[in-house]
Each structure stands twice: as C-alpha cells, then as structure tokens.
C-alpha cells in the first residue's frame, strides 16, 4: 500500500451484527493531511465504521488500514496513532483543564514535562492558558469543545476522528472550531469529521455520503455539487438520502 499518500485505506469493509449489515462493502481512502467529512443519515453506519477505523471494533470482512497498520493485526498500534473526540463526555467535568490534559497525556505514555509543554502550546493557541486551573464544568460549551479537541491531539496523532464536534455549539463558536480544524490540518494532522450541519460539509476537502450501510457518493464538495447539479451539499445529501 502507498503508506505515504493515504492515511486510511478501506477495501470492501463489511460489518454485520447478526443479520443486520451495518457496513456493506465500503471502499474508500483518506489522504494524509486532508479534512475528510464523513456524512450520512442517522443509522447509516457511520459510527460503526469509525469504531473500526479507531481499532475499537473488528470488521466482519474486508481490509482496513489506518496509519499503515491493519485493524485486524495491529489495533493497538492504531490506537496510539489516532485521536478521537466524541460528541460529548470526552472531558472529565470534575477535573480542571490541566488535569484533563495530564490524564489523557498519561494514558498515551507521555512524560509530565512533555504534557506540560504540549498543553501550553495547545492552550496558548486557544488563548485559554489563564483558565488552566478551572474545572471543565465551569466553562462554556464552545470552550469545552475546543479543549476536548486539543486533548484529543495531545499525543500528536497522525489522524483525529471528530464525531459531531459542533452539535449544539453557538454559531460563533462553531466557526471558531472550524478554524481550529483548518490550522490543525495545516499542521499535518489528518482530520476525519462527522456532522449534521451541511454547511460544515462545505468546509471539508472531500466528503463521503453514506446511506443504509453503503457509500453512495464521495468527492470534493464542488465535484459532488456539479455531479448532482445542486447548489449545496445539503441539496446533494437530501437527494441521495431520499434515493
């Protein structure tokens, strides 16, 4: 495989739960350094596929390679090289900002010194250094999401998975969050993101759209809009999701 170019390679991924086919022969690549939007209706199988790519679940059949490792053979090697931010519950509300960084950095085997250095850089970028001793619980949601994102990349992963990171976030903070995504991708970390805000799909370099376990479209937002003769990704999505 061309490890240099693609950070994720998925070939004929199938995942079944009993008789239910959650992922039905998925095949796609994610390029190193890109912002990739993983779109789909509720229940289309996005979370199932993401869990597999993070090394948390195994495919029923097919090949999935992430950061150069197979999810079947080396799930632990993958876990060290990916970051993950869930929609909620990704920070400990009763720990301070600093303690959350220490906890997650510690899990990834980072030294105290390294964690301090790295969290300074990440918090500095958010202008939140003065708040390092504050409990997470006391901070606004928009800040929490930015901190959760920073915590998810403290170990310099090659790719970070973001599961609906902006749901419920105010319109200003939502846009600031995307600027953070841009600057992270510019720094070389691949960003793999799910969202129900179709305007955010337009910010991705490429997107895929899933319905009922299958990828029904993949490409740059501009290409997809052209192909489906639509003025927005929302219009493309509506057409595909309604068949």
């Amino acid at each position: 495989m061309t490890e240099e170019k693609n950070i994720i390679e998925v070939r004929d991924l199938v995942k079944k739960f009993g008789n239910f086919i959650a992922n039905d022969h998925l095949t796609f690549d994610v390029k190193r350094g890109e912002i990739f939007g993983f779109l789909g209706a509720n229940g289309a199988g996005k979370t199932t596929a993401m869990k597999i790519m993070c090394g948390l679940s195994s495919p029923t059949s097919g090949i999935v390679r992430v950061a150069g490792y197979s999810v079947n053979d080396n799930p632990d090697a993958i876990k060290k090289r990916v970051g993950y931010m869930s929609q909620r519950f990704s920070l400990y509300e009763d720990l301070t900002v600093e303690e959350n960084f220490r906890f997650y950095g510690g899990i990834y085997g980072m030294t105290g010194k390294k964690i301090r250095e790295k969290s300074n850089v990440l918090l500095g970028r958010l202008d939140l250094i003065p708040y390092r001793k504050r409990l997470i619980r006391s901070l606004p949601l928009g800040w929490k999401q930015k901190i959760a994102f920073s915590v998810a990349i403290i170990h310099d992963p090659q790719i970070v998975f973001l599961d609906e990171p902006t749901t419920g976030v105010d319109p200003l903070a939502r846009r600031q969050f995307w600027e953070l995504i841009y600057s992270t991708a510019a720094g070389g970390i691949t960003v793999f993101v799910t969202t129900h805000y179709m305007d955010e799909a337009e910010y991705c370099e490429r997107v895929s759209i899933m319905t009922e376990g299958k990828i029904v479209a993949i490409g740059t937002p501009a290409d997809l809009k052209q192909k489906y003769n639509a003025t927005s990704i929302e219009a493309v999505f509506l057409r595909l999701a309604r068949n």
């Binding site: 509720n42 929609q87 949601l141 749901t167 419920g168 976030v169 846009r175 179709m198 309604r242």
Partner: protein, 304 residues
C-alpha cells in the same frame, strides 16, 4: 380577548451560582409555531421544563392556557404534550405498547384520538411490534411525538426534537409540525439549528439565558443593521484572513462554501473588495451584496 396559551413574565431560574435564565418575558399566540432558537447552555431546556411544570421558576411567573405553572400544575399537565430532549420512552416496550401506555395514563385510548397522530403514526405502523429501543433515530423521534400527542393536548412543548438528527429527518419532522398546526395546536419548539428558525411563525433568539430578539423570522432579517456581503475565491481559508485585514470590514465568517463579511459602512461596495482580493492573489473571486439569514443575525446580536 382569548388568553394567550403561553405567557412568561420576568421568568428567571438559577442553579446555585449559575443563572440558567435571567428575567425573560414573552407570549405565544394561539396556533403559533414558536421557536426558541439558541445554542446549548442558552437556557432552552430550563424554560421548557418550567412551562411543563417539571421545574419551579426561581423568579417571575409563567402561565399555560391561562393557568399558573406553580399553582395549577395538575391541570396544566392534562393540557400539554411534552417531548423532552433525551429519548425518554420505554426501550423495552414495543411501539404500540408505549403509545397505549401514554394514552392510558391520560385516561384515553389510541383509537379515540387517532386523528391526532395518524399522519405521524402511519410511518410507525409497519414497526408497531418493534421494541422502542431498536428504532432508528428518526423513528424514535416520531414515536416520542406520537406519545406526546395521544391525549390531544392544546399546547405542545418540544425540547430540541431535531438535535443530532440528520438533515433529511429534520425536514420531515418540520413538515409533520406544520401539519399539526392545522389542528389548531400551539407549538413551542426549541432548536440549536438556526436554519430551522425559518420554519417557525415567530422565534425567540436566546443566548446565555437572555432573549436577544423576538419576532417573525423575516422581521429579524429586516432588522439586520449592517451591509452584508458574500465572497468566494479559489482559496477560501486565506480569504477569511485577507478580508479580516481590510479596514472597513467588521466581521468575517465562513458560511458553507462562501465567506460572509459585514461592514458598518454604507458605502463599501463589492467591486472595491473584489479588486482588493485580486490584488492579494486570489483567483476566481466573486463578491456580492446579500441578504442575511438568521444565523448572520444571531451572530450580529451575540456580538452586541
């Protein structure tokens, strides 16, 4: 004059040190779809729980169908349908069993009020023996709405029914609400999705426990007091930074595949900006004056 179905007067609520809603006042007209639009933490759920008589107000008063939410809570509960933010039906009961359960609690039957839920329930009928816990997100939402409607409430209180729901199911859900409106039910619905404001008759934009504005969506848009433009180029990310560096420009934000920027200056024109961006090395530049959407308005109000 008939009493308005929902009235809040100087309504406030704090949890310890944290003020969830500061003294807010508004009234909802009979038969309206009234939207409470705002991000998480704005106080939407607190407000709805007070109206649903599940939470006592800290300050001020609220009335539903002319009844006081503190004194008359028992009567109010018979007149409202409430759909909480989290799915709160019985996962281990089937679709049908959940519906019968809620009908029984309110002393009625599904068949008696079937006309109320028919439009929604036809989508669920094929799955009526399925356990609620095994339904997809969109189906759970339709079941929850059916359960909230089965006793023919006068007032429907919906707490973020579309959060985390995909774009298609969201559109379907709003169409169901529009059809319910024909049955003369008053609907108060909260959402963090700004684009859903356009589907309401009137909206309250709410942020950190305060109402930024209450009006019809088109009136809110008319009240936008800046010149607004959209721009595109071959380098959308750099476009943000370059526009921010331009003196007459006040704020710049990405909006889908465009960038929106505004100015307090009446005289700023699109051509001037187009020229500036081309000088900065952008290609395929377009700049045009546009009308704001609700999200533009919300951002502008937040910054005041």
């Amino acid at each position: 004059m008939a009493v308005q179905p929902i009235i809040a007067e100087d309504l406030g609520k704090s949890y310890g040190e944290i003020k969830a809603i500061g003294r807010i006042s508004f009234a909802v007209e009979k038969g309206e779809i009234f939207g409470i639009i705002g991000p998480d933490g704005a106080g939407k759920s607190t407000l709805i729980r007070i109206l649903a008589t599940l939470l006592l107000p800290g300050e001020g008063r609220a009335q539903v169908e002319g009844l006081d939410v503190v004194k008359d809570y028992r009567q109010i509960r018979k007149l409202i349908g409430y759909m909480p933010g989290r799915f709160s039906l019985y996962h281990d009961l089937s679709v049908e069993e959940n519906l019968n359960f809620y009908a029984t609690i309110f002393g009625t039957t599904v068949s008696e009020n079937y006309d109320m839920i028919r439009d929604i329930y036809i989508h669920l009928e094929p799955f009526k023996r399925r356990l609620a816990g095994h339904l997809s997100g969109g189906m759970k939402q339709k079941l929850a709405l059916s359960c909230a409607l089965v006793h023919k409430p006068h007032v429907l209180l919906l707490d973020e029914p579309t959060t985390g729901v995909d774009a298609v199911s969201r559109i379907d859900f709003w169409e169901l609400l529009k059809r319910l409106q024909e049955k003369e039910i008053t609907i108060l619905v909260s959402t963090p999705y700004m684009d859903e404001a356009a589907r309401c008759d009137r909206v309250a934009l709410i942020q950190e426990g305060h109402i930024l504005n209450i009006d019809r969506p088109d009136s809110i848009i008319q009240g936008y007091d800046r010149s607004l433009f959209s721009a595109t180029s071959d380098n959308p990310h750099q476009l943000l930074y370059d526009l921010r560096s331009y003196d007459a420009v006040e704020s710049v934000f990405p909006f889908g595949d465009q960038v929106h920027f505004n100015s307090l200056s009446e005289t700023l024109d699109a051509e001037e900006i187009q020229h500036f961006l081309t000088e900065k090395g952008h290609h395929r530049v377009t700049v045009k004056r546009i009308n704001p959407n609700i999200e533009d308005c919300f951002i502008a109000l937040m910054k005041k």
